[in-house]
Symmetry: D3
Subunit: 224 residues, 6 copies
């Protein structure tokens, strides 16, 4: 499957690495131009500007490792996405889609973290199969964010079951390095977002689909 332009929508810095860090590396290695749109961030009032600056720096390091071409930050404070008028939030994500014209869009699965749900909603609106940019998208899929995604209430809320697994055997090491850039976000084993937990999930997803390591996605709309 060939994609020339991939837009990865992340609620917060590091979600895109947790979800599809290996896939991003694989895409950029294959010549695909990858843009990351980071909607929210560790900003005041819950966090200081310094925390945000730190995570952006960590993200920049990680993105270089993964070959990300561009990164845009919408700078909405974490847990405050719901305070932004919906038409304004949608407008910004639609703008990114219209500007970048991706053929592949990867967004967060709607899960325990309210920001993930709101970003998912905005991504769904922005990728509707209408308009030149919308019709250009060949595939939209939602990635899992370790821990938050698996904390959805079983059978009350939606539960992540992948229908697409990307072989990241060749990029699992870089994914782990990229995650290690986020000193502020990663916890030691057995933390739910420890490097070992990330590796375990990749091994589980991979081995169930014929690979050593994989990243699972939920395909929302594919056209061909």
């Amino acid at each position: 499957m060939d994609f020339d332009r991939a837009l990865v929508i992340a609620p917060h810095p590091d979600d895109e690495i947790l979800g599809v860090g290996g896939f991003i590396k694989k895409l950029s290695d294959a010549g695909c131009e990858v843009t990351v749109l980071t909607v929210s961030g560790h900003l005041p009032p819950l966090y200081s500007e310094e925390v945000f600056a730190t995570t952006v720096k960590e993200a920049e390091k990680a993105h270089i490792l993964l070959g990300v071409a561009h990164c845009e930050y919408l700078k909405i404070p974490a847990t405050k996405i719901g305070d932004v008028p919906i038409s304004e939030l949608n407008g910004k994500v639609i703008g990114a889609v219209n500007d970048f014209k991706p053929s592949l869009v990867l967004c967060p699965y709607p899960d325990r973290h309210i920001d993930h749900r709101l970003v998912f909603d905005a991504a769904m609106v922005a990728t509707r199969p209408i308009g030149a940019a919308g019709l250009n998208i060949k595939l939209i899929a939602a990635y899992e964010t370790l821990s938050e995604t698996h904390w959805n209430a079983p059978h009350i809320e939606c539960n992540f079951v992948p229908n697409w697994v990307v072989d990241i055997t060749n990029s699992i090491e870089v994914k782990k390095q990229a995650l290690s850039c986020f000193e502020s976000q990663i916890s030691p084993f057995p933390g739910p977002r420890s490097i070992k937990a990330v590796e375990a999930l990749a091994m589980f997803r991979g081995t169930q689909s014929g690979f050593a390591y994989g990243e699972g996605l939920h395909i929302i709309r594919m056209t061909s």
Copy 2:
């Protein structure tokens, strides 16, 4: 998306046309080798051998129109698939997968018709991501069979919701011609399997995804 070899598994002659006739034409036009595996047929004791022969002839005409390269008939009498020992049925479908080594497998959605459910089950076993042939498959998806699929009980049984729509604007006419070959199976409008109903479904699936005409599929496993 490029597929070199596609295996289309059909419970009975014509299901593959109803479900993915337009896609088959598109695949063969693009140079993909398409094999149709027809598991069951209108055979004794419910039908006479003549009826089976008629449907096979109809299928052959249709397949020529669509560019199908090979067609294999397992010749299990309709509604009797459940009488075949499971390991034998699975063995036959596994054999077809091992022999043909497809990168794309299209199978029926499990629905009102018991044969569709049993063929779906066998297809799921035969396409597990193990073994050389299994690991060669890049995509498995289930197609809808007009009427039977839409007669699953809402919210009691699984209900078809496509996550993949194939643009068949350029092959809808050939699909309709191919269906017209099945004089024994197609009914006049407003029959649930009339040509007009087939066209309406294609228009509905297509327009909801940016095309004039489309075929909807439920992706079961994609790897890349």
Copy 3:
């Protein structure tokens, strides 16, 4: 099934026609008094007052064709329904139910458009089987809104599967005329809301249930 008073709740002008235009005509022809409650509209700040006035005029023309007896506009700006305090929004819809005392209520299916979800929620509260007006309701069902309803994410969000199909063979032509009144909303084929797409959906729903043309609904609560 006989209904003397039907309340159709629409998020925006034209949703009621897309969803149940044919059914409205059938109801009014049978002597049922039909009221349309339009919750939101193309109003400032996203739209000018002129746009709203235009859609209201279009709706009025359409309603005459369909035999709608009354239409009420709550005039909440589109995408701003979430800004109205929930108790106020609920109060207004409850008021409409209490005033009109319908035996049948038709509301939008909760889908891609946030307004549809919020109106659905309010309709669910307003039709609870309590109080004189609530207990008078014999049937509540949700209609599909072409395109928005089919853009819900498969298997992550709820997906429309009808358990009630209304034969609109005798009113499909009037439904198409009523939709044609909405010059500002309808797009040419293969637009997802083109007249041809509307007709295709009606033909698909109808033929799967024994009719030439039908409108599908999801029954939420029926009592008898």
Copy 4:
């Protein structure tokens, strides 16, 4: 809602009373002709002929109380429905539908008891919206069978959630009397099929929909 002819399909004698005994009485009181089709029975090899004869006598007493017009017994031994060739089982149920031409069909919800699932499947095939008899059906719904239905595995198998509740306030007493006829099947409180449990379920279903006592159903297909 007016039905002139109702077909109630029961896996075993008493299921129809547990599920819709009150509704049957209500229908017959309103002049509807009610036929009960009992597919299986307590027959050899698991039971003696005497047990079957006893349950039939019990059913006859119950049916007189409820105003059932006809009762047909297919006499397939309990738990052996799966041994009957599917086309033969379907043929018998289709035959009953074709002979009786019901406008309303009530069938068991597919649940813990394998016979209930097989009878549900046959009912689904027999009521497809095709053919004169199929197109004559206005409503098909599945009733709950106390205990078996509530022993489906939560969220692994389908779980009964009613979308139709019938007011049986005026027939709950007769329903209890009809159930009392089944001395061989009813257990003392707190047995899952005790008269008190039946009354509790009716009160629960009723009070959640505005009635003192109700019977819950899952509508599968309604047309109008």
Copy 5:
């Protein structure tokens, strides 16, 4: 199963009794320390301060009967929970979890009442399996709130299906007494929240699991 400390989260006074009044009594009798956290209340602007004071007095009486050790009121006005910034609401519920360190948490099922959904969300965040307090929790389950829970739209929204039933045969009488304390909230039969409806639900849940009376819960996360 032994729990030393149970936290019951209630949207409004009386929800905890409707849902798990019998279980609370059983827990306190067994020596478990039970805290009730009441998030919202009948406060201005929708209600007068007097109404709130009345419901608190009613709750206090009920809690004494049930052996509740502590009760905390967050005093957010009913239907206004959505107006509290999410991080603030979450902070308060997290605070209660951190202070009390429960091994068992019982929360409302997300249902028709918007407050129930928002409290459910906050409970899900506050009980994530991280941090000392989070890791101390052995079981989190959602209880049903008679009427609101059963007014979720079938198959559009989540529908309550219990996977845990607690035997309350020995505490059903006290539960009914505790509910009777809420003169302002309980309605006469056949009201959906009448004492008889509560008893019917308990009998239905109980008899389907081997008890005379039971309370049903949906287990969200159990660890052992």
Copy 6:
């Protein structure tokens, strides 16, 4: 949670170890008497008697490591469970439950392997909350079987989502040793049933619930 007698139902030798090997060890260490009921086996006609004997020997070694007290083999040939009359299969599993009187029953999740589904069905019948043995059961849960469980078709068939995670940090090593006894069944990494895949799944399940290693289960019915 204290269980004195646990019955683990396995379709084939090794399924019980893949699913709950660590939990079995934990239970036996805590003084619980564990019985394994193995329903099917690698027997003629698909396998030679030698293969069956080999897997039984492997199982015996594994069971000693895990502290299993008893193991019973029903010796039904693999993939032939469907050929056993349902009442006979149910009778055998019911017999095991009646004889052993477990307070905890663990059974396979119904998945890709038809034997797993049939054993699940029989386990559901055998553990109904009726009769002395049925009422003695406090908890029934379904375990995942690496690979087969994860090959259920997403959103068409049921998909495993655990609501119970057992901490097996102290028994993961013994679980791996026990699995290593099955030389005939375990494949090298990245095989879907390699020891590394088993460890990865345990680490994924564990870290998402606060442990280093865990086993996930789907609770079907808990009573207390």
